[in-house]
Amino acid sequence: MRSDVGTLLTLAGFFAVLSLFSVGGGNSAVPEMHRYAVDVQHWLTDRQFADTFALAQLTPGPNLIIVALVGFHVAGVLGAVVAMLAMCGPTGIAAYYVGRASERFKGKIWHTAVSRGLVPVTIGLTAASATVIATSADYGWTAAAVTAATAIICYFFRINPIWVFAAAAALGVAGIV
C-alpha cells in the first residue's frame, strides 16, 4: 500500500481523465482501468483485478464503485476517496451544468446525432469489458460455462442477477468452477 502524495496524484489524474472517456456508464471504463492498473502501473495483478471486479459486482450500488476498490487497494481509505472524487467530480460538475441547460438542447439536431452516435460505441465498450474479465486469470472451461449459462439466463429471463451470482459462488466454493 503506497499512500504517498505522488501515488494519490497519479490515481486522481488517471481517474479524472478516465471519467471523461467513460461514455455509457461505469462498465465501459473497465478495459481501460485494467490496461492502466495492471499493465502500465502494476498496481494489481490480472487475478487481483478480476477479483476486484467480482467484489464490486457483489457490493450493492453503482457499478462505478469498482473505482473506490482499485483506489483502496493502491492507497487505502484515502486512495478510495481520492479515486472516487476524481472519477465523479469532473463529470458531476458537467452533469450539473448540462442538466441546467438541457431544456435548451432538446430537439436540436446535433443532440439527436450525438445520442444516436454514442449508442453503438457504448455497446462495443461494454462488450469489451465482458471480454477483459472473461480472459483474466483463473479462467478455465468450467468458468466459461458459468459465463455462458449466466448470459443465457439473464438474457431470456427477468431474474434478479444476485441469485445467479449466489449460484455461481456456490459452484465456486464447491470446487466445480
Binding site: 457483489l58 471480454t131 448470459a151 439473464c154
Partner: protein
C-alpha cells in the same frame, strides 16, 4: 429547472402534486437506491422516483435518463446530480451523490479489507472466480439486450460496424481508450448526423 420547462402537460402537473423532496429525503432516497441495487441501479431508481415517491413522471424519467447516459461518467451518478440540483440546487446535488456513493463505499472498503486478509484462501478464491465468471455473463446479456435494436433495424449497417470496431479495438487489440474514442466517436456521430 422546473420554471424553465415548457407548458406542463397533464402528467407533469400530476408530478408537481408530490411535494419536492427535502435534503434528508434526497439522501435517504439515493442511499436506498444504492443499497438495493445489485447488478445495476437503473431499475431501482425508476421505481423510487416514479412509482414510489412520484417525484417524476415516466416521461421526465426517460428524458432525464437519456440525457445522463449521453454524458460521460456513471449514468446514475449524473442522474443523482441532475435530480438533486433540480429540486435543491448545489446542496441537493451533493446530498444525492453522497447518498448514492457513501454507503456502498463504506461497504466495499470493509469487503476490500476482508479480501486483503483472506484473498488467498482457496475457498474464497474459487468463490470469486465463480462470481467473476457470472458477472462477465451478466454483462454479455446486457450487451445483447442493448444491441438488439441496433442489429434489428435493416436501415443501416453503420451502427453494428461501429459497435464491433469499438469492441475489437478495446477488447481484443487492447488499444488505449482515449485514442480509440477520439477516432471512433466523431465518425459515429457524423454517420448518425448524415442519416438524420
Amino acid at each position: 429547472m422546473n420554471d424553465s420547462s415548457p407548458v406542463p402537460r397533464a402528467a407533469e402537473r400530476l408530478a408537481v402534486a408530490a411535494p419536492p423532496p427535502s435534503l434528508l429525503e434526497l439522501f435517504i432516497a439515493f442511499a436506498t437506491i444504492a443499497l438495493c441495487g445489485f447488478g445495476g441501479v437503473l431499475a431501482w431508481s425508476r421505481r423510487m422516483m416514479v412509482e414510489e415517491r412520484g417525484w417524476m413522471t415516466p416521461e421526465q424519467f426517460n428524458e432525464t435518463y437519456a440525457l445522463c447516459s449521453m454524458l460521460p461518467g456513471g449514468n446514475i451518478l449524473n442522474f443523482s446530480v441532475i435530480f438533486g440540483s433540480r429540486f435543491r440546487g448545489v446542496p441537493g446535488a451533493l446530498v444525492a451523490i453522497a447518498g448514492l456513493l457513501g454507503p456502498p463505499m463504506l461497504l466495499i472498503m470493509i469487503i476490500g479489507t476482508i479480501y486483503a486478509h483472506y484473498g488467498d484462501a482457496p475457498a474464497l478464491r474459487r468463490m470469486l472466480t465463480g462470481i467473476a465468471s457470472a458477472a462477465a455473463g451478466l454483462m454479455m446479456a446486457t450487451v445483447a439486450k442493448m444491441a438488439r435494436p441496433l442489429f434489428a433495424s435493416r436501415r443501416s449497417m453503420a451502427a453494428p460496424v461501429v459497435a464491433i470496431a469499438t469492441f475489437a479495438a478495446i477488447g481484443i487489440v487492447h488499444w488505449p481508450l482515449p485514442l480509440v474514442l477520439a477516432a471512433i466517436i466523431p465518425i459515429s456521430i457524423g454517420v448518425a448526423w448524415v442519416r438524420l
